[in-house]
Amino acid sequence: MDAESLLLALELASGSGQGLSPDRRASLLTSLMLVKRDYRFDRVLFWGRILGLVADYYIAQGVSEDQLAPRKTLYSLNCMEWSLLPPATKEMETQTSVVKGRFMGDPSHEYEHTELQKVNEGEKVFEEEVVVQIKEETRLVSVIDQIDKAVAVIPRGALFKTPFGPINVNRTFEGLSLSEAKKLSSYFHFREPVELKNKTLLEKAELDPSLDFMDSLEHDIPKDEDPRG
């Protein structure tokens, strides 16, 4: 949710039951302004909240001029003080995939995971149990990254691509019409395209290169089925 239209967006998303208390809302509005100024972001988005056992993480993302460039992620425990998170890497993902269960809510908490590792000591090869410490911050980073890659969605027409390369917000975008809004093909994944190059030339011929430069939601698995069976 864009920090500028935070309240409206919260109202619209309230159907799922998750909302923010008034004090949090007020703190968010204030602190996100400051974050935008300090980090010189073009837009600051309130990403959401990750529930933990002891405390909850509030996550924000900052977008620079090029909308598709990797976004910077910040987290806060009280919606006032924000800390920058390191960018996600593949190793982090593999490392944290073994951790299961809820988040603790303490960024310095360390998960312990015992692994069997083969250790070579001279001629002997034996397996040793190694306890690997995984920090919760790392887990947070990789989880946010996974969620983004999977479900960050943007409607068609909201961003457009210029011949120079950078992707800009489309100021003339008025929203999708009712019939378009019901189709999955009018929504894109908000990430670098993965499947676009696999499309056949015939499909690409229908696309508009300035608008359709991201993966559409149509081909995601599992497919949308009729609920009546």
């Binding site: 309230s14 159907g15 039951g17 909302g19 208390s21 008034p22 004090d23 009280n78 609920p227």
Partner: protein, 715 residues
């Protein structure tokens, strides 16, 4: 179109006079008003001579037209025309007939054509073929009617040369070549009074097709209108494509290019429905209504609870909460409700469910329950009979089929209403404004199966739940089972709010089942918020725990009812010794939350203050970690539970559906069912050798015996 016309059957001959009267009757009785027509009739006298004359004309006409069926017209068949008038637009046929009588020997092709075409444009193409032969040519004074090109709802106008067309300028004469070959789609009527036949014919044509709302009548009318408007060069050739275009246009209304039609959006319909919510009930006078409404109603104060939940960061937006409030108010008005509570919202894939927890007034719900029970009992009785018959058949068979050893597990009876899991009734609706639907009571087997599966709700109550192990019921049952589980696990209240009744009964006598009822404590003072947050012991469950059996109070499934004893005494005696079911015990009512089991070293509940910045005005919020979406708040003497979520339990692992059971043994394996390998040659030879040895040995013995006998005999 393009079907050849079937052969006409000669109907009975009404007399000419009766014919006339019938015609006039029919005219009067037809749906459309044609005030001009009777006048026309009067102008045209019936002349039997003309009739006869017309026969020849008829036959000539038909030859001209190339319809061989007409060629063999007999005087009797002449009357067929009148009988076939039913196919025609009744108004039209009225004119047709008198014309037939009138015009004598006038074989003007052009006239015929002009007569035919208007009939064609009537929209019932089948009929005209016969009718045209009836046309002997129009008398000069009545051309208008025939050249009239009309739609079904246009009246005739008498005397005008060219009648009002629907859309375009009238045309004068049509050449025969322009006429399309209109197929005859209808069957001939049985010899019935014409009126009835006409109405039957029309009704048949007005039938709407299965796939759309369009009827043949309308479609043909549209098609002919279109043809006459556009006047294409060779309409017969273009008939097929014109047909298709007309069909397409029906479903794609022409949009005005200058102005946009307002769209009928589903949001408008929803707004209409919700508008009804906001209307006040019309009964009673103004003052009385106010008094009634300020008195105690069963509708809870949703707005207040929504405010507190909002402090906790949970809940629907305020206008949605208000709509929920109005919808609950509507529910209370419709059903005899004693207490009502907004239980929560369960999200679904297509639509969501708003759930209301309700208690009926005494005695109100028994009627519906009895019906349901009778149905289920009837079903069970029939199944029992089925089993008996099956057993008998098996005995009669010569080859005894091995009886299956698998017995279905005994059905655990569901709990009575107002007790245990069925303590409250639940109503659901998809959105405020839609009607509330009642959920059935939950049975223990449904709860047991619901624990094993994990399905998202679609939003339609009658959707099937396809899963393994198979869930006994549809989505309504699954929803009810999940609601029962969530209620049992997450409905909590501050310690002391509820207390047990005054009877401090002997717990031992009840078998350790515990008490199952509680009442509000009038002396409850409220626990300070900070204490509520600190210790989980300050909160208690006020719903009964559901045992693994699926019920709150334990029932021994092996206790046989009388029916079961009659059925299979012998078989069950064998099983008695083996199975002993332990009584299942769960934590008693009003146990504090600190006793709840942990999951994976994680506390099952998380308690927070709603706002750390102002603790003096905060509300204590407790969140369940076991059922994500279940929240409870408490502040002073008020507390409330709510669930907003997908309806699934938390599991640290991803869900894996259970594998199907291993295939059962079909039969006990023994030497006669198992394939043994055939003996090898060596084995056979060895056997043979052994047998020979045995034989030899036996022979020797016999010889010895014989020798002995001989010796004896000799002696």
């Amino acid at each position: 179109m393009g079907d050849p016309p079937p052969d006409p059957e000669p109907p009975s001959q009404p007399t000419s006079s009766s014919r006339n009267s019938q015609v006039s009757e029919r005219r009067r009785s037809r749906e459309r008003t044609r005030p001009l027509v009777p006048e026309e009739l009067q102008q045209i006298p019936l002349d039997p001579q003309i009739l006869r004359g017309s026969q020849e004309v008829l036959s000539n006409q038909s030859n001209l037209r190339g319809w061989p069926q007409r060629a063999s017209l007999t005087p009797n068949e002449n009357l067929v025309f009148q009988a076939e008038d039913p196919y025609v637009n009744p108004g039209f046929s009225a004119e047709v007939q008198p014309q037939a009588y009138l015009s004598e020997g006038r074989l003007q092709a052009s006239h015929n054509a002009s007569l035919m075409l208007p009939q064609l444009q009537q929209g019932e193409g089948n009929l005209f073929q016969q009718l045209e032969s009836a046309y002997q040519g129009s008398p000069a004074d009545l051309p208008g009617q025939f050249t009239m090109y009309q739609r079904e709802d246009l009246p005739f106008s008498q005397g005008t040369q060219h009648g009002p067309y629907m859309r375009d300028d009238p045309t004068l004469q049509f050449s025969p070549s322009e006429l399309g070959f209109m197929s005859f789609n209808m069957e001939l009527p049985e010899p019935e009074p014409r009126e009835l036949a006409v109405q039957n014919a029309k009704a048949y044509l007005l039938q709407t097709s299965v796939n759309s709302d369009l009827s043949l009548y309308e479609h043909l009318a549209n098609l002919l209108t279109k043809i006459l408007n556009q006047r294409p060069e060779d309409p017969l050739f273009l008939l097929e494509s014109l047909n298709r275009t007309t069909q397409w246009e029906w479903f794609h209304p022409k949009l005005d290019t200058l102005r946009d039609d307002p769209e009928m959006q589903p949001t408008y319909e929803m707004a209409e429905r919700q508008k009804a919510l906001f209307g006040r009930s019309s009964s009673g006078e103004g003052e009385q209504e106010m008094e009634e409404e300020t008195a105690e109603t069963a509708v809870p104060n949703i707005m207040e609870k929504a405010f507190y939940f909002e402090q906790a960061g949970v809940g629907l937006s305020s206008d949605e909460s208000f709509r929920v409030f109005m919808a609950l108010k509507q529910l209370v008005e419709q059903q005899p409700i004693h207490t009502c509570r907004f239980w929560g919202k369960i999200l679904g894939l297509s639509r969501s469910y708003l759930v209301a927890e309700v208690e009926f007034r005494e005695g109100e719900e028994e009627a519906e329950e009895e019906e349901v029970e009778e149905m289920t009992e009837g079903g069970e009785g029939m199944e029992a009979h089925g089993e008996e018959e099956g057993d008998e058949d098996e005995d009669k068979a010569t080859d005894v089929i091995p009886k299956p050893t698998w017995k279905p597990p005994p059905v655990i009876p569901k709990e009575d209403s107002r007790t245990g899991t069925n303590r409250y009734l639940y109503f659901v609706c998809n959105e405020p404004g839609r009607p509330w639907m009642r959920l059935p009571h939950v049975t223990p087997i449904q709860i047991v199966q619901a624990r094993k599966i994990r399905k998202f709700f679609t939003g339609y109550l009658d959707a099937p739940v396809i899963s393994y192990p198979p869930f006994p019921g549809n989505e309504a049952n699954y929803l009810r089972a999940q609601i029962a589980r969530i209620s049992a696990a997450t409905h909590i209240s501050p310690l002391g709010f509820y207390q047990f009744g005054e009877e401090e009964g002997d717990e031992e006598e009840e078998g350790g089942a515990g008490r199952d009822s509680y009442e509000e404590n009038p002396d409850f003072e409220g626990i300070p918020v900070l204490e509520l947050v600190d210790s989980m012991a300050n909160w208690v469950h006020h719903t009964q725990h559901i045992l693994p059996q699926g019920r709150c109070t334990w029932v021994n499934p092996l206790q046989k009812t009388e029916e079961e004893e009659e059925l299979g005494e012998e078989e069950e005696k064998a099983d008695e010794g083996v199975e002993e079911v332990e009584q299942e015990v769960g934590p008693p009512l009003l146990t504090p939350l600190s006793e709840d089991a942990e999951i994976m070293h994680m506390a099952p509940w998380t308690a927070r203050l709603s706002c750390t910045l102002s603790p003096q005005y905060s509300v204590a919020v407790v969140r369940s970690n076991l059922w994500p979406g279940a929240y409870a708040y408490a502040s002073g003497k008020k507390f409330e539970n709510i669930y907003i979520g997908w309806g699934h339990k938390y599991s640290p692992e991803n869900f894996n559906p259970s594998l199907p059971a291993p295939i059962q043994h079909e039969y006990p394996s023994g030497p006669d069912t198992i394939e043994m390998s055939d003996p090898t040659v060596e084995e056979e030879q060895a056997l043979k050798a052994a047998q020979e040895q045995a034989l030899a040995a036996a022979e020797e013995e016999e010889e010895d015996e014989e020798e002995d006998e001989d010796e004896d005999q000799d002696d």
